[in-house]
Symmetry: C2
Subunit: 243 residues, 2 copies
């Protein structure tokens, strides 16, 4: 009997994988992972050097997305078909073998595997192993507590509308902004409007080779960082009452 | 030359410690950790069975807190003195040896060690190893994605005022409420007012022996759960654009 083991791989440094995920990855006979066409894939990169020599790999390649605008009906349909197909393939494979699905960060926290998780419910046994979320790797790299005491922490996607970003940036002690990429200029403008830019950090490739930690105001506007998260640290509201 | 290695131990299951933290814990000659007087301490409990036989242990016991009200000037002073004293002790020890400080969850995310971290800056070399935050262990135990797509996730402390809790519960897709304990009834009332109670889960001792996962509405009002986090899952705003 087979099963799917979805391994949260953590933020990027393979030593930050959990003991359990590390063991599953090393013992895997079949591994599946998402990647963009023509790219090695972030999850696959994290486990480089850990996989068994005779492992079978099943890359799941996102359909080409550059020609079609995000959010268009066609794009939505393409992606849904893609996830259907991946789920089908995994379900078939997992009916006879144990398949380890590699997922960066923590799978249940904005993870792409959840698109398959929903489709595979009731069809195959699924175990999910928690991982350190990417954001935790990033705030670790800055070396300051992201939140303390009674701080409110808000996690925002850079894909949100600028006015919503601004409003929420104004109303939270600590901030984490994910999916920055093409949205970084909008995120920066919202931080300026919310008067939080001076406290914002950009962490690119957190815990990975080529890591960069910089104050966002020192990052050139034309710069387009990869795997980047923006952080604003809380100051520890009523910290003395913290426990 | 000594140093302090602060190990994030993750949510409770020792197999969810990172590979690096696991190695440091097993190799440690000196370990320090917080605990309440008369209790083994949550961090210490996680590493039970992993420590070397000849390890030296340095429990840091919180001053008795039951007779003095939280937030009072006296309590604040007592705690500040306690942290000063702990920092002094660790700095002395770390000037000649490597000391592993055990911290549940992720140290930079509302971790008590940060009170010492601030006091030890510039006095001794400190390395912090990220861990899976307690909340991630809890949402893993529920087995559903806590947030997807463009969901906004808000992390709240149960110590906040009820009206602030209610307002923020109303205005976020996904919710994590920590420091529930004595605040659980207030948290429940705020969830009712914000019309989110029906979707709330309580996870007690997440990933640990005696774990309980229940809908909060099914938890008796007189019940006083330990190490409990309340979760409300997001529904995946604009999930199709999530990439």
């Amino acid at each position: 009997m087979g099963a799917i083991i979805c391994c949260g791989l953590g933020p990027g440094d393979p030593e930050l994988m959990s003991v359990r995920a590390d063991r599953e990855v090393r013992a895997a006979k079949h591994v599946a992972y998402f990647r963009k066409k023509g790219h090695p894939g972030q999850a696959r990169r994290i486990v480089e050097g850990l996989l068994a020599e005779d492992v079978c790999e099943y890359p799941m390649e996102y359909p080409v997305t550059t020609e079609i605008s995000f959010g268009s009906a066609e794009y939505v349909r393409l992606l849904a078909d893609f996830y259907d197909e991946c789920a089908e393939r995994l379900a078939r494979l997992a009916s006879v073998a144990k398949v380890v699905v590699l997922c960066e960060g923590d799978p249940y926290f904005y993870g792409s595997f959840m698109h398959l998780h929903a489709r595979l419910q009731g069809r195959v046994a699924i175990e999910v192993i928690a991982g350190i979320p990417g954001m935790a790797g990033c705030w670790n790299s800055v070396g300051q507590p992201i939140a303390l005491g009674d701080d409110v922490t808000t996690v925002l996607m850079g894909t949100l509308a600028e006015d919503e970003l601004e409003r929420r940036m104004r109303n939270s002690d600590a901030l984490v902004i994910m999916k920055t990429g093409r949205n970084l200029q909008k995120v920066r403008r919202a931080l300026v409007s919310a008067d939080r830019l001076a406290d914002a950090w950009l962490v690119e490739r957190g815990t990975m080779p080529g890591e960069r930690v910089a104050r966002l105001m020192d990052v050139h506007e034309a710069d387009c960082p990869y795997f980047a998260i923006v952080l604003v640290h809380g100051r520890g509201r009523r910290m003395e009452c913290a426990e």
